[in-house]
Symmetry: C2
Subunit: 434 residues, 2 copies
C-alpha cells in the first residue's frame, strides 16, 4: 500500500519536494495549490511593469508533472488540518473535499505584512503573486491614460508619482523597472502634454540603508545606480498613513501619489494557525532541523514559513534558495522515514544574493565573498534567471521578449483588461475565497 504524501503549496519548496518524490516507489503525492500554476516570483515586477506576459512566468503545474504517474494535482484552498486524524479539508471547484495523508508537507510560503497598518493594507499594491502584478499593471496604465487628459498640473503630477516602499530586492527592482517603463516607453507615447508629463519614482526605506544583508559598498552602489537611473531614494522614511491620493511619513512629510507599492515586509502564511503551533518572529514556525514539526506526526514544513537559525543564531532569510533546499530535504526525509534510514538535518548552502536595478544595473554578493555591480552584476542576474527558467518551457518566449526589449526599448504587454467583464459569465459554482 502506497503512502500518501500531501504537499500544500506549489511554490519553490513544494515543487522541489514533489520532484524528489515523483516516480518514487511506495509513495503517491497530492500537490495542492490555490492556483493551477507555479509562479516564478523573481520576475513578478516585470509583469507589473509591462515587460513580460503573465504566462511567461506562470507555468501550469500539471505540465510540470505531466509524466509523473504518482503525482496528482488538486486546485483548492486548505481550510482545515486535522493532525490527529491525519486529514485535511480543501475548498475546491467541487466544494469542500476531505483528503487523508500519511505525510503532510506545509509549504505555503509567506504573505505581505502590513504591520497592522490598516490604511496601508487598504490602499497599497503588493507584488507577491501574479494577480498582484496584473492589478498593479492595470492601475499604472489607467493612471497614465488619466494623467495625459488632466489639465491641472498638480493633480497630474500626483497621478504620475509612484512610491515604492521597502529597500529590499523587490522594492529596488520594481522602482527601477517603473522608471524605465516611463523613460523608454510611456514618455514617448504620452507626449502630447504641455508641459510634458513628469514622472517621479520614489523608493522609501524606513531604515538608514537599502539591501540590509549586503556589504555597505554594494548598498551604496545600489543607491548610486538607482539615482543615476532617475529613482529618488529616500532613507529613514517611515510611512504612517495612506489615502487614495497621498501618503504621510513619520516626520510629517506629505507625498501626493495614487500609487503605493508595499514591499516592506512579509510574514509566514496564515495556514500555520491550522496547526495549533506557537509562531516565532514574522509568524514563522520552528520545526526540528529535520524539518519535522514536533508532536504533529508526519507533518513537515518547508520554505518561507520555517523558522530556523544558522550557526551564528541568525534566522535563515525568506528566499527561494532556502525554500528549494528545504523542500528537497523534507521530501528526502519522508523517503528516509519510509526506508528506516536516519534523517538529514537541514543546512543552508548559501550561493549568494543579487538584485537588479534596471538595464545594465545590478548588484550581486556571491559566496559571501565576491562583490559585483553594474553591467557585470546585471549579466550575472540575467544569466542566472534564464538558467533557472530552463526547467520551464516558457524560457523561449521569455528570452525572445527580453532580447526584443533590449534592442527596441519596448514593452508590449500593455493591455488594460476589463476588471468588470472578467467577472462574467459567473462560474457555475464560485470557488469560495476567504
Amino acid at each position: 500500500m502506497n503512502k500518501r504524501v500531501i504537499i500544500i503549496g506549489a511554490g519553490f519548496a513544494g515543487l522541489d519536494a514533489t520532484h524528489v518524490l515523483s516516480n518514487q516507489e511506495g509513495v503517491e503525492v497530492v500537490l495542492i495549490d490555490k492556483n493551477n500554476y507555479h509562479t516564478f516570483t523573481p520576475l513578478l515586477y516585470q509583469v507589473a511593469t509591462c515587460g513580460l506576459d503573465p504566462s511567461s512566468i506562470a507555468y501550469p503545474i500539471r505540465s510540470i508533472f505531466r509524466n509523473k504517474k504518482n503525482v496528482q494535482f488538486l486546485m483548492g484552498k486548505v481550510t482545515e488540518i486535522d493532525y490527529r486524524a491525519k486529514h485535511i479539508a480543501v475548498m475546491t471547484e467541487n466544494g469542500l473535499r476531505q483528503e487523508a495523508y500519511d505525510y503532510l508537507m506545509v509549504a505555503t510560503g509567506s504573505v505581505i505584512d502590513h504591520f497592522g497598518q490598516e490604511s496601508i493594507e487598504a490602499q497599497s499594491f503588493g507584488l507577491k503573486d501574479l494577480d498582484d502584478a496584473i492589478a498593479l499593471r492595470q492601475h499604472i496604465l489607467k493612471l497614465f491614460e488619466k494623467a495625459t487628459w488632466t489639465q491641472d498640473i498638480e493633480a497630474r503630477d500626483a497621478m504620475t508619482t509612484f512610491a515604492v516602499v521597502g529597500g529590499g530586492p523587490t522594492g529596488i527592482e520594481t522602482a527601477g523597472a517603473l522608471y524605465e517603463l516611463y523613460n523608454y516607453v510611456l514618455l514617448q507615447e504620452y507626449g502630447d502634454n504641455q508641459p510634458p508629463l513628469k514622472v517621479r519614482v520614489l523608493l522609501l526605506e524606513a531604515s538608514e540603508t537599502l539591501l540590509a544583508p549586503y556589504p555597505s559598498a554594494l548598498q551604496n552602489a545600489a543607491i548610486e545606480q538607482l539615482g543615476s537611473l532617475g529613482v529618488e531614494v529616500v532613507l529613514n522614511a517611515k510611512v504612517t498613513e495612506v489615502t487614495p491620493d497621498a501618503l504621510y511619513l513619520a516626520d510629517g512629510r506629505l507625498i501626493h501619489t495614487h500609487t503605493l507599492i508595499w514591499s516592506a515586509g512579509v510574514k509566514a502564511s496564515p495556514i500555520l494557525s491550522l496547526l495549533d503551533v506557537e509562531p516565532q518572529r514574522w509568524g514563522r514556525v520552528k520545526p526540528l532541523e529535520t524539518l519535522q514539526l514536533p508532536d504533529r506526526e508526519g507533518v513537515y514544513l518547508a520554505g518561507d514559513l520555517v523558522y530556523l537559525e544558522d550557526d551564528k543564531g541568525q534566522p535563515y532569510p525568506m528566499v527561494i534558495q532556502v525554500a528549494k533546499q528545504q523542500g528537497k530535504v523534507a521530501a528526502e526525509n519522508i523517503l528516509r522515514e519510509l526506508s528506516n534510514q536516519p534523517l538529514k538535518l537541514f543546512k543552508y548552502n548559501d550561493l549568494g544574493i543579487m538584485a537588479t536595478i534596471g538595464r545594465s544595473r545590478a548588484v550581486a554578493w556571491l559566496f559571501n565573498r565576491v562583490q559585483l555591480r553594474g553591467y557585470l552584476a546585471w549579466l550575472a542576474w540575467l544569466f542566472l534567471h534564464l538558467v533557472t527558467l530552463l526547467g520551464f518551457k516558457n524560457r523561449a518566449s521569455v528570452f525572445v521578449s527580453w532580447v526584443w526589449n533590449y534592442f527596441t526599448y519596448d514593452r508590449s504587454v500593455r493591455i488594460i483588461l476589463d476588471d468588470n467583464r472578467l467577472r462574467k459569465p459567473a462560474p457555475i459554482e464560485q470557488l469560495q475565497e476567504e
Copy 2:
C-alpha cells in the same frame, strides 16, 4: 486652424482610417476606444483555447501611432453624440468629457446577437473581444480541474462537453481548437481518471450547412475535416433554451453541458442609437456610398455597422476586409472634402475568405474562383495571418508561440487568473460601465 476628426473605435476600420489621416496637414485626429489596445480578432479563439497570450493579439493603440504627431488617443466610452452641435460625450477615467468635432467617424463594429433569447444571453460565452476570450479560457480550465476530481461519470461528462453554436468561421475555428486543446494537451495532463476523461465538442448549426457563403464542395470539406478531427457537427440544430448544465434544441433534444459558446450571430454596435437613424437588418445603418451619413453633417460610418449592398443587391459581409477598406475610403473622403475634391464611392474588393479548422485543416475560397482545402488552405491561412500581423510588433512572439506549438503540441498559456483578486485594490474612481 486644423480640422478635428474624431474616430470612435480602434478596430480594423478605425485603425486604417487613422493611418490615412495621420501626419496629414490640416487635420488632427482623436481616436477613441474603450480599450487601450487594438484586438486582432481573428485569433481570439487561440487565446480562449490557451494557444496564445492575450497580449500577442492585443496591441497598445498608443504604440501604433507613437510617431504620428497629429493623432491623440482617448480611452473611454461614448455616451452621447450631439450631431447638431457637433460634439460627443465620453465617459473616461477622468469622468465625463465633452469633445467637439468637425468630422466624426463611427466605427465601433458589431456586438454579439442573442436574438433576444435571454437564457442564451445569460448562460453563454462569446468570442467577440479579449475579455470574452479570457473568460472562456478560465471557464474551460476550471471545468477540467473540476471534472478530474468528480466521481459521478454523468456529471463529469457534462463538464467536458462543449457546445459551440454557429457554423461560421468563428464557430468552426473554436470547435477545432477546443478539440485540439483536449487531444494534444489536456488528455495527457488529466490522465488519472478511470475511465479516462472523455471530451465531446459539438458544433451546432441551425441551418442545413456550415459556412453559408462558401461553395458547397468547401462546405462539405469543412464538415469532413471537423469530423476527422473529432468534432461532432450537428446541422439543423436550433438552440431554444440554456441552463447552467444543459441546453435544449428545438426538436426536444437535451445536451448536458456547462459550456455554450455562442457564435451564431452579430448585430451592429448599439452606439448607432445615439445618431437617431433608422436601422436596417442586423441593426446596421445605411450611409451614402461615400460612407457619409445623410443629414448628419460631417458624420461618416465604417465597418461592421455599415449597411451597404453590392451590385447584386447582397449586403456586404461583416468581415475585416470590408471594414479596412471602408475605413480607408471614409478617411480619404474626409481629406477630399477638405481639399474640395470629388468624393470616392465605396466598392468592396473581395480577395476571398478562409476558415481554419485545426492543425493542417482549413478551407479557403479565393478571388471567387480558387478553392483550397486541407494542408494547403491551412498554410495559406497561416501565411496570411502572419503577414497581417506584420504591421504589429507582436508578430515575433506570436510566431515563436506558433512554431513552438506546432512542434511540441503544447499550449502553455493555461493560467487561471483569480477573478476575485483582479478586482482589488479598487481603482480610485471606477470607470462607469453600462
